[in-house]
Symmetry: C2
Subunit: 185 residues, 2 copies
DNA sequence: GTCTATAAAAAGATAGAC
DNA sequence: GTCTATCTTTTTATAGAC
């Protein structure tokens, strides 16, 4: 079948949601099946093991990552602004997949760690192409990663009044960009 | 006893190490007891349950956090530079406890999430006192959090040649500080 | 493809000897 | 305080009916 059956997608989606909302500990086969509205046996028909489920998350994440890297390269605002702006976006499909990836990585799934590293490398290249300076590129990366870390902890205190801040953060980076390689000689 | 027995400390230390090195999934009572060189029964004498073990991590982390916040407030280099510099330090006791805290938080331990939030609030205050601008303070926070996120993923690619970069990152922030509230009106 | 029933393993926790 | 032995529960995985 060119398109996989709907139930498979529902299971994968349920697993990702559980990872994001309740953490890896709570994302058991039982809980995943229940949330997907299928039986455990039904789940295991589509994903032969828990590892297979994790692999599917990683594979699905790659699709969104690749799409994002491409969008970043052709973004009119430049790679740095694009990266920071999208890092602050929650509830996008990319965001959900990245949070799930981080949960798996922290739980000890090696392939998830590698996928995150690979994505970071590609994003870093896109930012470096934009800003020129390695230091500033790293600062932008750190800012974006910090945003992820903040936003993926449920109920973090600065989530509430963050909207206006993003624009000013972008301005800050843009100013730095114009100042050029402040610290390089 | 004023000082708790040595075995208790060994167990707690083993649990933290496992959390950091192998992730929450691998940090079972069995594995922890084995690494501490005691039996499961011996472990459970000191920590009546797994939750008690997690609580002990949180409590131990608080000691290091409080010490760090105090050091930050009296740091000659200023809160912002202190925060970024220490965020890049790995293998300190504070770092180990924070990584463990993050592993627990991502696994779904609520008290760990709250402790991280509480620590972030205190660090943010220290940074804000130093730099004055809320935007810049947030940028500094994000940078530090990004550093943690990077460094706590095992084997991340930019860990290798990061040494010189930290100094330049600090310079960058110092420049921003001198420029003042770039974007506030 | 999806279910129920069941097995097998792992993890958390208790009891009691030493 | 620490151990061994045991129990319970949870989680993963299999088998086979429909």
């Amino acid at each position: 079948m060119a398109r996989p059956p709907a139930a498979r997608g529902k299971v994968l989606d349920a697993y990702i949601s559980l990872l994001c909302e309740e953490g890896e500990r709570a994302a058991t086969l039982d809980a995943t099946a229940a949330r997907a509205g299928v039986s455990k046996g039904g789940l295991l028909y589509h994903f032969a093991s828990k590892d297979a489920l994790a692999d599917a998350v990683i594979e699905a994440a790659e699709v969104h990552i690749a799409r994002d890297v491409e969008a970043m390269c052709s973004a009119a605002e430049g790679g740095a602004a694009y990266f920071i702006r999208t890092s602050a976006e929650v509830d996008t499909e990319l965001d959900r997949h990245l949070v799930a990836l981080h949960r798996l990585a922290q739980a000890g799934v090696k392939n998830a760690t590698e996928k995150i590293e690979s994505a970071n490398e590609r994003w870093y290249r896109g930012i470096l192409d934009d800003v020129g300076s390695k230091d500033l590129a790293h600062l932008v990366m750190l800012t974006g990663e910090g945003l992820y870390a903040e936003l993926s902890l449920p109920g973090t205190w600065y989530q509430r009044n963050f909207d206006g801040e993003l624009d000013r953060l972008l301005q800050l980076v843009s100013t730095l960009k114009k100042l050029g390689n402040l610290n390089e000689h």
